[in-house]
Symmetry: C2
Subunit: 220 residues, 2 copies
DNA sequence: GTCTATACGGAGATAGAC
DNA sequence: GTCTATCTCCGTATAGAC
């Protein structure tokens, strides 16, 4: 990695862990083993570092999510892949910047706080949401055509529902500390899929009757 | 309102709108029409103002949510009341501090950023989540006993699911700007209720058959 | 490209009068 | 309780040598 990239990565690390204002250029310089004024050769100001840090996060996130979906063909797998990719992104980012997990990060916070400072960023974030909305709509669409997802589902609402669940889980995983989210993820995804799936829920105790039920319904 | 409260409210306003570090004691003093050193008569430091601001928010939130649930008896109404109260809290807070809505706020951000600085606060937030979890569990429990909510629902998971949806909606309402959340709230709540409700979904076109279906199922 | 030296401003906080 | 005056520190940023 060249100096410029190392400076950017160090900035990203500090901004995410301790916030923009609590990070000084001296800290960044020390981390990269250069002197403070050298930073100005690569970036024109501290705010320029902030801009590029946030830009880096969104690009990375967008890329990973796009990639996660193309790995599968069935709507259920695609949706699960999206769900896990989005939830893992925060953890992966933490590992990438070399965070020691004593200070849990939440990349959405930095969006909330600073994206409004730069029009380019708040537009980019809006575009990101539009993109993942399109991806999710297509997944639902395919699922509906294949009969795997209820035809009655309103795509727009379902998309918002999915995105909000994912964002919400990221948020509470750093705030609601006495709950271990890792163990509940699969069940939360299953809940999500159940709300879309056109299959009748087959609770174990009632399987027999439920099945009959459907059979008779079709007959009539 | 006495000077102390006015200082606290002004701090809260600035902290929420522009963040803690971007707020100076001079700004707060100007807003209250006093001089900077007078603040130190009421609060021992800037950080003390932060602590009290966050404490105020959690207390207020907890109180409003507790109250919202007691206004209703049926699980469906209680849940809807909870849902709306949580979503409205951010807006109401914005109005309370006299925000002009040019700078959308998100009270969860301030939790994410600063609660870890004070053990008392991160414990209080955890307690808050435990409390609303208990409230939601009781609602689901009543619903299951009355037969309104599916008996097969895992309460723990359902509670996390509800909380994450609410938090997620608050988050994306400030980031995903090209979507108007207000118009979709009812549908999002209906989705939530449908995922819990023990009633068969009655899509309008299939109502007749669905009804027969249930009838026959019972007979058998 | 990276450095040393330094300018400049503004932040939080205190002393002590009224 | 609130003020004026002031302290001290440390931040970003620049000038200019190597």
């Amino acid at each position: 990695m060249n100096t410029k990239d190392r400076v950017l990565m160090a900035s990203l690390k500090f901004f995410l862990i301790q916030g923009y204002e609590n990070t000084t250029l001296s800290m960044i310089a020390d981390e990269v083993n250069i002197k403070k004024p050298s930073i100005y050769y690569h970036f024109k100001s501290k705010e320029d570092l902030l801009f590029n840090s946030i830009y880096f996060i969104i690009n990375n996130l967008e890329e990973k999510i796009n990639h996660s979906v193309t790995k599968f063909v069935s709507p259920k797998d695609q949706l699960q892949s999206f769900f896990e990719c989005a939830l893992d992104f925060n953890t992966n980012l933490s590992i990438m910047i070399g965070n020691d997990f004593n200070h849990p990060i939440n990349f959405i916070t930095i969006f909330q706080l600073y994206s409004n400072r730069f029009n380019a960023l708040s537009e980019k974030i809006d575009t990101y949401y539009k993109n993942i909305s399109t991806i999710l709509e297509e997944i639902i669409d395919t699922g509906q055509k294949n009969g795997l997802i209820k035809g009655s589902i309103d795509k727009n609402i379902a998309v918002l529902d999915i995105i909000s669940r994912v964002e919400g889980l990221i948020a509470i995983s750093t705030l609601y500390k006495s709950v271990d989210m890792k163990n509940k993820r699969n069940q939360l995804y299953e809940n999500l899929w159940l709300s879309l799936s056109s299959e009748k829920p087959q609770s174990k105790t009632k399987k027999f009757f439920e099945y009959k039920n459907i059979g008779l319904g079709r007959k009539w």
